[in-house]
Amino acid sequence: MIRYYVKLGLLGIRQNPVLSALMVAAIAVGIGACMTIINIDYVMSGNPIPQRSDVLYHVQLDSWDPNEPANEPNEPPDQVTWLDGTALLEAAKGRRQVLSYRSSRVVQPADPELRPFEVSARSTTADFFPMFDVPFLYGRGWDKSADDTLEQVVVLGKEINERIFGGEDSVGRTLMMNGDVFRVTGVVDEWAPIPTFYDVSTGPFNEVEEVYFPFSVSVAREVGGNGNTNCWKPRDEAGWNSFLNSECVWMQFWVELHGADEKEDYMAFLDAYVESQKALGRFPRPLNNRLNDVMEWMADQEVVADDVQVLLGLAILFLIVCLLNTIGLLLAKIMRRSGDISLRRALGASQSAIFSQYIVEAGVIGLGGGIIGIGLTWLGLKGIEILYSEMEFIENLVRMDWVMILAAIALAIVSALGAALYPTWRACRIHPAAQLKTL
């Protein structure tokens, strides 16, 4: 029966090509506008590390000013101090933990033809790589012992390896940075978590760093942070050591915990740690420590831009206008064919048969609108990419995957069926006798 309805539907579409084309266009435009924004929202709010997001926890300690919170209403600072970061690292109460910050280095290629150049760097402890599932092209991260012995080791991003070593396996070779010689232990493969969850302090959508080197080496070389440094308490003395021991927050601490029990234990440990620091005269605010897993932290940091949410609201209303249009067109079409419907009813078609026939026709129109809508979504994303071309990361936000393509088709069909309900119901209720008289 369905095949017969589809055939009738196609015939119906051919009967009123202009009206049908208008309906397909209305749905396509609505789907295109809506899916363009939904797609961007979907990418922005995506899970950057789905396989591990529920075992990685971002740590916040409220070490802030007694007179005002770090962030309203009563939020602890987003980052940690050197004092607290290294203390938590040393305690090693989680399965794994990582302390890191964004920095920058100058690479001095051995080849005298190549001029020295700046790279973005991450000063980090060894567990960064296994904890965040960093994919390696060659080699691997450094051993934990390298952190303790201040070994000058480095992990390169794929592009830097390309630039310095021509893309070869450079494990074991050396690289000069700011006058120091580093040994390469690994080369990271393509890696672009969206958002760059492990450090959103300078914005959620950045390129990952180009090189990674040990936190301990970085601190010993007095390499400052390249992200945000926030302080509330003036320092007593000058110099690097006083900065390290200050109440300035400038690094990120993550811990790996499996299950609610471990999380609870770790929270208790954090509270005990803060209490012990209070005894030393630090932490003037009431206990207010936080453990957020990756997705909780992304929600807390509001990584989806306000503009996208405004546009999402507008795009949904846009789709509604397009659907109202479609309902009007369908109504017009069905009313025009009321004679035809009456005839079929008089010849024995049941109300449900009429209903099925017109719903199938609407479904076909929805499918058409969905397919064209995917094309329009692609165009829309291209348009957004051009409009926002100043944003370095934009090409990563305008990608379309299968989930979104299927979602577009599903949304189109559901919309078309939703729009068809009322007109079709009206079609079923046509009284054959009244209509046939006028024929």
Binding site: N67, D307, C322, N325, E390, M391
Partner: protein
Amino acid sequence: MEIGPIWRALMRNKTAYVLIALQIAVTMAIMVNSIAIIQERSRLMARPSGVDESNIFYLSSNGFTPDFDDRAAIVEDLEAIRSLAGVVDAISSNTVPLRNGGWSSGVQTEAGDDVDGTGVAIYFIDEHGVDTFGLNLIAGRNFEPTDVEWYSQSSTRWPPAGIISQDAASTLYPDAPNDAVGKTIYISNDQPVRIVGVVERMQAAWKDWEGVERSMLVPAFLEDSFTWYVIRTEPGYRDRLMPQVEQMLAESNDGRIISEMTTMTETRHKSYHEDAAMIKLLVFIVSLLTAITGLGIVGLASFSVARRTRQIGTRRALGASRPAILRYFMLENFMVSSVGIFAGGLLAVAMNIWMVQTFELTPMAWYIIPAAMLILWVVGQAAVYGPARRASLVPPAVATRSV
């Protein structure tokens, strides 16, 4: 008037008209709120930064060798840059307005660690700074060479003089903003800074910061291997001088990297590009939406004219003139539009209240609503004109034919 009969006719076949009125209402809500956002963004984008944007460029110098002499490099570089033909003045600074990276600090009018501070953006400049940025000094004096110090990691004392922006003055001294010169403010709780001058305007590096208009100029060279050189040129010299300065600095010292050369024009463009893109997107959405609604009106009107051909013929046969038929459909559309437009006005206000609460926008200006009403009435009348004219051309003879 024909309003009564038209209204009764509408009521006999409500659905289609309700659909159109709903479309107009939603279109109205989107249009009003989009215009409100566009207005707000345009206002933000139009704020001047206070500096001579069209003639300034800047670049970074990053010394990386262990024996790099920070002080000597800054002194030599500035001397070399300032002596170039076409350069008005140049300084070493920690950032420039709108660059989205910089230094802010709290300052307070009394010393003490429990006094509320006011956040200000900090610019380290020397006595050439006011001239290089092209700032308008409205009270007090510029820095003297004797004010300028070297400030570094190992400094424990903050330079004791400062020039603040007018907005910072009125925030610090709400009662007497014009008497700020000569007063002492405190940074880091208890380090005194005497205000020696006030500039009309100097924006911070972060355009979205609520304190973007508050800044303080500090007479010091930041002693660091990394610095920004800010260069102001004579009008028309900027683009010619840029490669020249870059090459000169790169060649003068092997121990550093010169990079990130940027003009202030580019910096503004980059800083506000998201707002500019949002404006374009909203204009596109609203235009497309208005077009779709207009087409919807055309479609419905054509359909209702086609359905009522016989009645139109009958009216014509009974003596109705062509303009009367035209007027009937125009008036019908006006009534349907009005229902939609008034409902849309309510929807728009509700949506604006929600957006103001959720996204901390400023509430819209009242006149956007009547402006949008006018636009939609005109669009509705323009859209219905075609079908209405066709209706008026229906010959009276149709009435006698069986359709």
